[in-house]
Symmetry: C3
Subunit: 155 residues, 3 copies
């Protein structure tokens, strides 16, 4: 692939998968906000205990960790450990001109694995379920990256 055109089915596949993952990551920030407002707590900065329109009745307990908020923070951290590298790996991978079907399986497969990982983590499924879903996504990143590495080395 030579041009980065959203009219190109291969690049469009990447753009769709990347967009969904960006929205997913940003969504974790918003979900943290929602849960902090529900819990009226789980804050982290001393100044968050000041009386403001959004926090009319501050008290010291608001700085203690709240498990419902911490759960989203853990999911978010897992995204930070994975999604930026997926975004870069997927971009370089489509530049190797892979077959469209294979690219769709890998890129959309990654998206599905991450949404399932989110569902499993949010609903506190067992570690084994969560780990399996993470593993699928991680192996997709590794596969795409190795493909890029080989293509660049044998140029």
């Amino acid at each position: 692939m030579d041009s980065l055109s959203l009219q190109d089915p291969l690049f469009a596949t990447y753009a769709i998968a990347a967009s969904l993952m960006i929205l997913k990551a940003v969504g974790m920030s918003w979900l943290t906000v929602v849960r902090m407002m529900q819990a009226k707590g789980g804050f982290r900065s001393p100044e968050d205990l000041r009386k403001t329109p959004l926090n009319p009745e501050p008290n010291a307990k608001q700085l203690e960790p709240d498990e419902r908020v911490e759960r989203i923070r853990r999911i978010h951290l897992n995204d930070l450990e994975n999604l930026p590298f997926f975004l870069a790996a997927g971009f370089l991978y489509v530049l190797t001109s892979p077959p469209l079907l294979l690219a769709q399986v890998l890129l959309y497969g990654y998206v599905v694995s991450r949404f399932l990982h989110f569902a499993a983590y949010l609903s506190a499924r067992t570690h084994d379920t969560r780990a399996t879903l993470w593993t699928v996504g991680s192996l997709i990143i590794v596969f795409m990256t190795c493909r890029v590495l080989v293509a660049a080395l044998i140029q």
Copy 2:
């Protein structure tokens, strides 16, 4: 836009905004270093208590959290949650060939929102101020990403 040329005003706009955000993120690492040296503490690894030229008088309290250092770490984490996704979203967004003025408003607007967010967080303004500035930036990412998604889906 078909070519990724820094001579293209649209891509140059992205490159300027992206560069400023990269320098901002890297700057947080340096600011953490500066504050750890000022506080002579806020370290995290056991080996940081060894006597070295940079730490001539180690003591166990250096591993305790130091609020001035932790504040920068919180700002940095907020950058990690936002900037990589801005970098990816902005890149894909300019590929949709948006009007130059709109792209400038969004991309430079994001940069301004993040520098103001930094100022508000560093000076411990109320949560409401910080949250408002973060929201502006987050909505810009969401808008650009949705635009990319639509463009890729209706190719």
Copy 3:
């Protein structure tokens, strides 16, 4: 450089460096898994104490921090603070059409600095060693980013 071709030596240099850094970051996740399995602990979520095939004998101590696991998490966080910005900065930098040799020194130099940083952190060398290696990489990112900024501003 106008085309993003892996046949282009400049872009191939970026692709190789970027691939190695992506694999490095993903490798930290896997190393965390390995060390959690060795320690049979260092977990973070309450549900990780459920009895499963991967955790046949759960006990409450498994949620306590384990230094061998935490060390990898600190290295991983350092990657998250650096690698996404290297990936973006390096990409934009090769678009400024730098001399191939300079690009190789900077991009491969960064890769080497990060692998040495990993070795120094893993083996708990002094803070000074680790800081020196981190500084080399950080200055490479700053240099490349400033070059992009200048190129985009004087378009």
